[in-house]
C-alpha cells in the first residue's frame, strides 16, 4: 500500500531525450495506466520506477520516500514483464517462490506460499511443470504469481498482455482488474492499447514524445481530451476531426464547414460568449466521436443532435451496427471519418447521407496549438481552457 510520485523525471539516451520532465502522482491503491504510441517513453518511465535504469534528474517517491538511488530490490516493487521472464529451468512453483529464496524462507514455506498463490491463479495443477510446457495464458499467470508472492507496495506491469491472442487478452485483462480489486495495491501498467487503458485504469497518463499529454480518469481522458493527440489516440475507432470557421452569434457560435465536394454545412455550438468572441472568424477543428455521429435509424441517446449532409463512401456492417466511412475535409480530404450507423441503415454508399451529430459531446481544438478550447461535455470549463492556452495565431 503506497502512493507513487514521479517528480520531474528526465532521461536521455545519448542525444535522444526520452523523458522530458515527467510529473505524475498516483494515490494509494490507484491503477495507473501509462499509455502512448511506441517510442513515447512509457517503458522507459516504468524502468525508472523499477530502478532498472537511473534517471538523469528528478525523483521517484514511493510512500513519500525518494527511492531514486535505491537498488530495485530495495524499492519493494514487483514487476510483470511482457516476455513473462520465467526461469526456463525452474518449475512453476519454483518460479513463483524464487523471490522468497533470497529472503531465506525455508523450502517448505516457499512451497506453501507458491501453492497459496497458485490457487488464486488456477495454477494448482501445473505447479511441477516447466514453463515451456505451459500455454501463453498460463505463463502469464505464473509471471503474475511471482509478483503476487512478494506482496509488494507497488505492482508494475510492462505490456503484460501484448503476447497473448485477442481472446485470452480480454480474459487476462479482467483477471488483472479483479486482482487489483481484491488486493487494492497501487499498480502501474504500461500499454500501447488504449482499450486496455480505458478498461483497467483508475487514472490514465497519456504520453507522447516523453511528455505527459494528459492525466485523468478514463472518463476525463475520453470525453474531455486535452489536445488532438489524446483525442485521436484514445477511443476506437478514433475521434473524427473536421475543419471549419467559427462565427460569433451572441452566446453561441456558428461553425461553417466546407465539405470535400465544396458544399457548406453549419453547426451551432453553445460555446459561450467569451470563446465565440475570441475565435470569431478563425479556423477551428471540431472533434466528434463515431458514436456521436449517427444516422436517422440509429437509436439516439440523450443529447443535442444537429443534422448535416455529407457524402457517404463505404458501409462496413459489423452485425450490431454499421461502420460508415466518410471523407473528412482535413488535409485536403486525405483523412477519413468514421460514423456509427444503425445495423439496418437505409444509407447508400456514394450518395449524400444525413449525419446526426451530438453537439453535447463534441470538442473544439485550436488548429495551431492542437489544444482543446471547448469541451461540450464540460462547458463550465470552456473559459478556463482558452485562458490556459491563449491562441497564438500570428504565424498563419
Amino acid at each position: 500500500m503506497a502512493t507513487l510520485e514521479i517528480v520531474n523525471v528526465r532521461k536521455s539516451f545519448g542525444a535522444v531525450e526520452v523523458l522530458k520532465g515527467v510529473d505524475i502522482k498516483a494515490e494509494d491503491g490507484e491503477f495507473l495506466v501509462l499509455v502512448g504510441p511506441s517510442g513515447c517513453g512509457k517503458s522507459t518511465l516504468l524502468n525508472s520506477i523499477a530502478g532498472l535504469q537511473s534517471n538523469d534528474s528528478g525523483e521517484i517517491r514511493i510512500d513519500g520516500e525518494d527511492v531514486s538511488n535505491l537498488h530495485p530490490k530495495d524499492r519493494d516493487i514487483a514487476m510483470v514483464f511482457q516476455t513473462y521472464a520465467l526461469y526456463p529451468n525452474l518449475s512453476v512453483w519454483e518460479n513463483i517462490a524464487f523471490p522468497l529464496e533470497s529472503r531465506k524462507v525455508a523450502k517448505k514455506e516457499r512451497r506453501k506460499e507458491a501453492e497459496r498463490v497458485a490457487e488464486l491463479l488456477h495454477l494448482t495443477d501445473y505447479l511441477d511443470r516447466k514453463p515451456r510446457q505451459l500455454s501463453g495464458g498460463q505463463r502469464q499467470r505464473v509471471a503474475m504469481g511471482r509478483a503476487l508472492v512478494r506482496d509488494p507496495q507497488v505492482f508494475l506491469f510492462d505490456e503484460p498482455l501484448s503476447n497473448l491472442d485477442a481472446k485470452l487478452r480480454v480474459v487476462m485483462r479482467t483477471e488483472i482488474k479483479k486482482m487489483h480489486r481484491t488486493l487494492g495495491t497501487t499498480m502501474v501498467y504500461v500499454t500501447h492499447d488504449q482499450i486496455e487503458a480505458m478498461t483497467l485504469a483508475t487514472k490514465i497518463v497519456v504520453l507522447k514524445g516523453g511528455e505527459v499529454q494528459q492525466v485523468g480518469s478514463p472518463d476525463e481522458v475520453y470525453n474531455t481530451p486535452a489536445n488532438m493527440f489524446v483525442a485521436g489516440f484514445m477511443g476506437s475507432p478514433s475521434m473524427n476531426f473536421l475543419e471549419g470557421t467559427l462565427r460569433q452569434a451572441g452566446q453561441e457560435a456558428r461553425m461553417d464547414i466546407v465539405r470535400p465536394d465544396g458544399g457548406v454545412v453549419a453547426l451551432v455550438l453553445p460555446v459561450g460568449e467569451a470563446l465565440a468572441q475570441e475565435f470569431d472568424g478563425r479556423k477551428v477543428i471540431i472533434g466528434v466521436r463515431p458514436e456521436a455521429m449517427v444516422d436517422e435509424e440509429s437509436e439516439t441517446k440523450d443529447g443535442t443532435y444537429q443534422q448535416i449532409d455529407w457524402p457517404l463512401e463505404i458501409l462496413e456492417p459489423t452485425g450490431a451496427d454499421t461502420i460508415a466511412v466518410l471523407q473528412s475535409n482535413l488535409e485536403g480530404g486525405e483523412e477519413e471519418m468514421v460514423a456509427r450507423f444503425a445495423a439496418r441503415t437505409s444509407a447508400r454508399p456514394g450518395a449524400m447521407v444525413q449525419l446526426n451529430i451530438d453537439i453535447s459531446a463534441v470538442v473544439l481544438f485550436d488548429p495551431d496549438s492542437e489544444k482543446a478550447i471547448y469541451h461540450a461535455a464540460a462547458p463550465e470549463e470552456a473559459g478556463k481552457l482558452v485562458h490556459l492556452h491563449p491562441a497564438r495565431n500570428t504565424a498563419g
Binding site: 526461469y87 529451468n89 523471490p99 529464496e101 511471482r146
Partner: protein, 293 residues
Amino acid sequence: MHDIVLGERSTTDRILRALVYAILIGFVLFYLAPLYVMVVTSVKSLEEILAGGLLNLPKKLDFYGWDEAWNNACVGTECRGMAPFMINSLIASTLATIIPTAIGALNGYALSLWRFKGSELFFGMLLFGAFIPFQIVLLPMASFLGWIGWSSSLTGLTFTYIVYGLPFTTLYFRNFFVSFPIDLVNAAKIDGIGYFRFFWRVALPSSVPIMIVSVIWQFTNTWNDFLFASTMTKLESATVMVALNNFVEVANGVKRYNVDMAAAIIAGLPTLVVYLVAGRYFLRGLMAGAVKG
C-alpha cells in the same frame, strides 16, 4: 521432420544425386583409410607387416603391439610403457578442462548479463588472447614458470593450459549468454536475487550445451597439444603426446610398426571417447542460438 512430397524426379536429377553420393563416399573412404591401416597394422605380427600388403587384413590376430605399447615401450632409457604418461595427460587435461570451463562460465555470464563500465573493452582484450599464436608466448611463459618454480613440471603445463583456455571458454559462454533474455536478469534484480544465486540456479543449468562445447574443446586441445607439452615438461612429467613421439623416435634397428600404431591409437582413444559421449551435445551446442528451441 516431415516427409515432403517430392513428385516425379527427372533423370538428370537422379544422375546428379548419384554423382554427389559417389563423391562423398570417395572422400569418406579416403578419410577413413589411415585409421583402417592403423588398426589392422596394430594387430599384425612384425613379420606379416614386413612382408608387405599394407591394406590386407591380418592373417592372424596378434596383440604383441598393444602389449608392448602399454607395458614396455621405452622413452629414452625408461621402458615403462604408456600408462604413466596417460595418467599425466589425464591429470593435465582434466584440470585444464574443469577449471577454465568454470571460470569461463562465470566470466561469460558477467560480460553478457551483468555488464559494467568497460566490460566490452575487457571482453575485447580477452578475445585478443584467443588470437595470439602460441609460439609467441612460448618463451615468456617458460621463463615465467621458471621464475615461480613451476618449470618442467606438470603443474606448470596445466597452469599454461588453464590460462590459454580462458579466452576461448569465456568467448563461448559470453556468446551463449548474450542471447539470454535480459528480462530474466531484470526480474531477478527486482526480486532481490543476487548475482551468484542467479548464476547457480538459472544461468548455469541453462548453459549445458555450451558447457559441453567448452569441455570438448579444452579436453581435445590440451590432450592433443604437443607444442607446450614438449617445451614445458621433462621425462617424468611428459604427456602422452610427447611420449608417443619419443617412442617412435627412440627405436633403433627395425621399426616396430605394430607397436607404434597401437601406441598412437591408445594416445588418441580418450578424445574419441569424449566425442562419442558428448558429440551430440556438441552439435547441439554449436547450433544453440542459431535455431530457436
